[in-house]
């Protein structure tokens, strides 16, 4: 197969990645091993991308509840659809994946806490009244995640290697420290909801918990084999 044809094939993929192959391109593909390899790679990437997109994280439950109320009040929907909780979907699987999800969700919550501004007029103007974000809403989501994760955290900690008691006790001790920090920082945010410094500390505490859970999961998976 001449390099020119391969170059043309590659250019065609580059310019129209989602377009169906022309007859000439199909003919070229049948004869060219290199382009077959390129094509199969592109297919794999495309498939992975589609699967990735179908797995996207859903917004928090309270946002759905607010949206649902809004739509019901406007008569756009009449009854609630049966819907499996996103927490159950996430955390109803194996502990390792649940913990990985937990770490990510903690980071997401932390990012949300860091990002939202309670009394920012711009947010209030853009969002409908019922969808405006208040200081307590993220805590509701956090509490839900906390409950859902409790069992999985225990499972992961119970699966830490028996031969390294120092590891297990250190992780448990530090989990207690971080949980305590989160409680103290949440109280601080409740007392001073407009204070960015308090929110930063709470954000940092969640980040640390995410790191701790990721470490515990890593150690249990690695050494428990």
């Amino acid at each position: 197969m001449s390099p020119l044809e391969c170059a043309q094939f590659e250019r065609m993929l580059e310019q129209q990645p989602d377009a169906p192959l022309s007859a000439g391109a199909v003919a070229h593909l049948e004869d060219c091993v290199d382009c077959q390899s390129l094509w199969s790679d592109m297919e794999a990437i495309r498939t992975a991308g589609m699967e990735w997109g179908s797995d996207e994280i859903e917004p928090p439950e309270y946002l759905w509840a607010s949206l649902r109320r809004q739509l019901e009040s406007e008569g756009l929907i009449r009854e609630r659809t049966a819907r499996r909780g996103w927490l159950l979907v996430w955390f109803g699987t194996a502990p390792r994946w649940a913990m990985a999800g937990a770490s990510i969700s903690l980071l997401l919550i932390a990012a949300m806490l860091a990002a939202y501004h309670v009394s920012e007029p711009k947010s209030a103007a853009v969002l409908p009244m019922r969808l405006s974000i208040s200081a307590v809403r993220p805590q509701v989501a956090v509490a839900d995640i906390g409950k859902a994760l409790e069992g999985d955290v225990k499972d992961v900690f119970n699966s830490l290697p028996e031969g390294n008691p120092v590891l297990a006790s250190s992780l448990r001790e530090n989990l207690g420290i971080v949980d305590n920090l989160i409680a103290v920082c949440e109280e601080s945010v409740r007392e001073q909801p407009d204070d960015p410094i308090s929110r930063d500390y709470l954000y940092g505490a969640y980040q640390q918990k995410a790191v701790l859970l990721a470490t515990a999961t890593d150690r249990s998976a690695l050494e428990g084999q």
């Binding site: 290697p161 028996e162 031969g163 390294n164 008691p165 120092v166 590891l167 006790s169 250190s170 992780l171 001790e173 530090n174 420290i177 971080v178 920090l181 103290v184 920082c185 601080s188 001073q192 204070d195 960015p196 410094i197 308090s198 500390y201 940092g204 505490a205 640390q208 790191v211 701790l212 470490t215 150690r219 050494e223």
Partner: protein, 291 residues
């Protein structure tokens, strides 16, 4: 006479058994000892993964990596691999045990001065001496002692503490309950965060250096000399700031924190060449004059 002979027999048997045990134990210790040599060119990257046990890394002037170690038992194996200048060392558990001593492995590693290190350890101590190169440490309860090292140092620990003596370069370190002590550092970029641990920075602030030290509780202490030149911004939200530095009001228009409850200090010492940011949630921040 007959009685004497019969009473001596048990002693002889016991003695023989003791000798046999000693020989067997010694042979076992010998078989659990291992030594590997790897010839390298230029700057090697050495990666060590050891869940339990001591890791000691020292620099030497040979273009060679030498690993001498001792396994706690036959329940652990040591895997090593060299691919070009990359050398990987990993302790592998072959049979589980509830006894941590059985699963431990101790390493004495000699590397060229210019080497990069990646160390992962859960419990045990990690000591690195006189190595120049980027290093990363991922530990849970293992304590870390670094001395005379130079490079970009990244430390992630959960409960282990770090003592860094005469370290140079750049440091990025986080822990949850670990303490950090930086003694006589010559570093121009330091970021340390621990939740409940203490942080001590006892060294000069370099011109244009940035030093960010943060914790939630515990003490952050920095020690300065009269020739140091830095801008300082220290804030403890619910704790205290104790200052001995003769700072003047900040000349560089750094914004003050908005929280009215926080104890804070904003100021400049000498020309304010370095930037020092100290923050704590409810801990104590001390800015002390070096004796």
């Amino acid at each position: 006479m007959k009685g004497r002979v019969s009473s001596a027999v048990p002693f002889r048997v016991a003695g023989t058994m003791l000798v046999a045990f000693f020989i067997a134990g010694s042979a076992g210790a010998q078989t659990r000892r291992f030594e590997r040599h790897f010839t390298v060119q230029g700057k090697p990257v050495v990666s060590v993964q050891n869940a339990t046990g001591r890791i000691q890394v020292r620099a030497w002037d040979k273009p060679e990596v030498l690993i001498v170690g001792q396994r706690g038992s036959s329940n652990v194996e040591v895997d090593t691999e060299q691919v070009g200048n990359r050398i990987e060392i990993a302790t592998r558990v072959t049979a589980a045990s509830a006894n941590s001593e059985v699963l431990r492995a101790d390493y004495d590693i000699s590397v060229p001065v210019e080497s990069e290190l990646q160390v992962r350890s859960d419990s045990g101590n990690v000591v690195v001496d006189s190595v120049h190169g980027d290093m990363s440490f991922d530990t849970v309860a293992a304590d870390l002692a670094l001395q005379d090292v130079e490079g970009y140092l990244m430390i992630k620990s959960i409960g282990g503490s770090t003592v860094c003596t005469r370290c140079a370069g750049r440091l990025d370190a986080t822990s949850i309950s670990g303490n950090f002590q930086l003694l006589q550092p010559t570093m121009d970029n330091v970021r340390v965060q621990t939740s409940s641990g203490n942080i001590l920075f006892d060294g000069g602030f370099m011109n244009r250096g940035i030093y960010v030290l943060k914790n939630y509780s515990g003490t952050i202490e920095v020690r300065f000399s009269s020739s140091d030149s830095f801008d300082v911004r220290a804030t403890s939200l619910y704790g205290n700031v104790v200052n001995q530095a003769p700072v003047v009001p900040d000349r560089h228009n750094m914004p003050a924190p908005r929280n009215g409850l926080a104890k804070s200090l904003f100021g400049t010492m000498n020309d304010g060449r370095a930037k020092v940011e100290l923050s704590s949630f409810n801990g104590t921040i001390k800015i002390s004059k070096r004796e």
